[in-house]
């Protein structure tokens, strides 16, 4: 593997791992705060799946560095500009509708991404994706079920979902950006063409929206930057909290 390809793979793995970690962290915020106990448990479960996914992916990413790094080192010792998760993942949790819309968009993407990655020429990644796609499919149906309940429930719940969808739409196109590293991985059959995922993603979201009475928003300004490690102001605060113990006691192991 050339140095260039190795670096591209590393960035890609960090992107997947960081997306899992940051989503897991945000989902954990619902603990003891969900609308009903059943949903508290369901959201913890989602968080647990994400953190578990982050652990495997960051561990693999850590082995693509010259000097091997552990998943924990990558999770707790990198700073804002070294994180590659999507901006949407780091946005503050917001209300329940916001979390559901976020989960719908992200899990629909992850469902398609991991499905495509099952065919990756990277055997670690393809083996991992077999499990990840099952989880992502479950996460998507969890979000889609809530879209039905909130979309067809009360006027208030419907309006809250519409607001969330509109607020989040500007963070969706970034999922599908083809950076140089994405192009290189595509050439080697390691990662899929993001443009193709976009079409399927729009179909998938469109189907849910049709049944729930939502419509796909007009494309307006789209936020970008995570491919270059440029984030919103929110990520720094999230990391501050998450990394607190590791940063305060650098010599300790837990």
């Amino acid at each position: 593997m050339t140095m260039e390809l190795k670096e591209a793979l590393q960035k890609f793995l960090l992107r997947l791992g960081d997306n899992a970690l940051i989503q897991g962290q945000r989902l954990s915020e619902w603990c003891s705060r969900a609308p009903m106990l059943e949903e508290d448990i369901a959201l913890s479960n989602l968080a647990l799946d994400h953190i578990g996914r982050a652990q495997v992916l960051l561990d693999y990413a850590g082995h693509t560095f010259g000097e091997i790094k552990t998943a924990d080192e990558l999770a707790f010792r990198r700073s804002e500009r070294e994180y590659y998760n999507f901006l949407m993942a780091e946005l503050p949790t917001g209300n329940f509708a916001f979390t559901i819309a976020k989960q719908l968009f992200l899990s629909a993407y992850e469902d398609l991404l991991y499905e495509a990655l099952c065919e990756s020429t990277d055997t670690h990644l393809s083996a991992f994706s077999l499990k990840a796609v099952k989880e992502a499919r479950y996460h998507f149906s969890h979000a889609a079920d809530w879209c039905m309940r909130l979309g067809l429930g009360t006027a208030e719940s419907h309006d809250k979902m519409v607001d969330a969808i509109h607020d989040l739409w500007a963070y969706t196109h970034e999922f599908f950006e083809m950076s140089d590293c994405d192009l290189l991985l595509l050439q080697h059959g390691i990662a899929p063409d993001q443009e193709k995922l976009k079409k399927n993603w729009l179909d998938k979201i469109g189907k849910v929206f049709m049944r729930t009475g939502f419509s796909i928003p007009q494309d307006t300004y789209q936020h970008r930057g995570s491919r270059q490690g440029i984030h919103t102001e929110h990520l720094g605060h999230l990391l501050c909290e998450m990394q607190y113990l590791q940063r305060s006691y650098p010599d300790a192991s837990w």
Partner: protein
């Protein structure tokens, strides 16, 4: 005339209840039972359920700051288990004719209680270890005894819950053990947590047998099978050794082995502190309740939407 027959029947059924209790048979939800038995159980099971749920708060306080991916997963899974225990216990109480919504209302109005232990704050990561080890450890002692309680659904809930609690206890102990092998700061944190959680854990078993108000009926009905002091003794005896093994000191200078009773004697418990916290004046009483009320209210529109959707679907079918 009819009324008399009704009364006779009731008397008969209550004898049946007595017979079952005597014969160590479980009382099931559709069995006739004295009203006082039913109310006692509702009070106890709902308090137990609320404790599981309120307990999610102090532990959740460290979820976002857990120091490794592994410890974050373990803590998430633990808190999720506790939520599951809450659900399971609410269902057991519901078989006695009270709804979950009503139990939550009683909690918010201060008519139902939850375990006092959760009115203490989790100040450092070591507190997560101390809760798992000491608080879940004390809960196990209590809950193992309740596996033999006379009400069927409650006893069965305890069987299921105890298995998970012993995991929690081991994981909590592991946190403490790791910290005691760590840096001087970690050791200090672990001992400090031990100092703060030891006495409140002993208080979890309630007042001494000599001044415990509810024991009479609960024993007669076999809801309670072991006394507060018996359970407390069991907990102390199994925990002291575990503390020594990892180098923690028990914050009780009067603690010593008693050869005759083959157990430890402990120093006096500060019951004035216990009474203070139980009556609302603990460090986190207000915070825990406000948190629960706030998020319950915040989730109202979601529950309403889910109900409306359910109705809508059922009219379509």
């Amino acid at each position: 005339m009819q009324q008399t027959t009704g009364k006779m029947k009731l008397a008969e059924l209550e004898t049946n209840f007595e017979r079952k209790i005597q014969a160590e048979e479980k009382i099931e939800p559709r069995d006739a039972m004295p009203e006082a038995y039913r109310l006692h159980l509702i009070r106890q099971i709902s308090q137990h359920a609320h404790s599981e749920v309120i307990g999610m708060q102090p532990e959740g306080n460290w979820l976002l700051r857990a120091p490794s991916l592994r410890s974050k997963q373990i803590l998430l899974a633990k808190i999720q288990d506790e939520g599951g225990h809450g659900l399971y216990l609410y269902s057991a109480a519901e078989t006695l004719g009270i709804s979950r919504e009503e139990m939550i209302r009683q909690l918010h109005e201060g008519k139902a209680k939850y375990s006092n232990i959760f009115n203490y704050p989790t100040l450092t990561w070591a507190d997560i270890g101390a809760i798992g080890w000491l608080v879940d450890g004390a809960a196990i002692v209590n809950q193992v005894a309740l596996q033999r309680t006379s009400f069927g659904p409650y006893a069965r809930a305890m069987f299921r819950i105890c298995k998970e609690e012993s995991f929690h206890q081991r994981q909590g102990y592991e946190i403490m053990a790791t910290m005691m092998k760590g840096t001087p700061e970690q050791k200090k944190m672990a001992q400090d947590a031990m100092n703060r959680w030891w006495w409140p854990s002993l208080m979890m078993f309630g007042p001494h047998d000599s001044d415990s108000p509810h024991s009479g009926d609960a024993f007669k009905w076999k809801i309670k099978r072991k006394s507060n002091d018996e359970l407390r003794q069991k907990f102390i005896d199994k925990t002291v050794q575990q503390a020594y093994v990892i180098g923690l000191t028990i914050p009780d200078p009067l603690l010593k082995w008693n050869e005759d009773k083959q157990g430890y004697d402990h120093g006096p418990i500060d019951w004035s502190e216990f009474k203070n916290v139980i009556s609302g004046n603990g460090p986190c009483n207000r915070q825990r309740m406000e948190h629960h009320k706030f998020w319950h209210e915040e989730g109202k529109w979601v529950r309403e939407a889910a109900d409306a959707y359910k109705k809508r679907i059922s009219t379509l079918n």
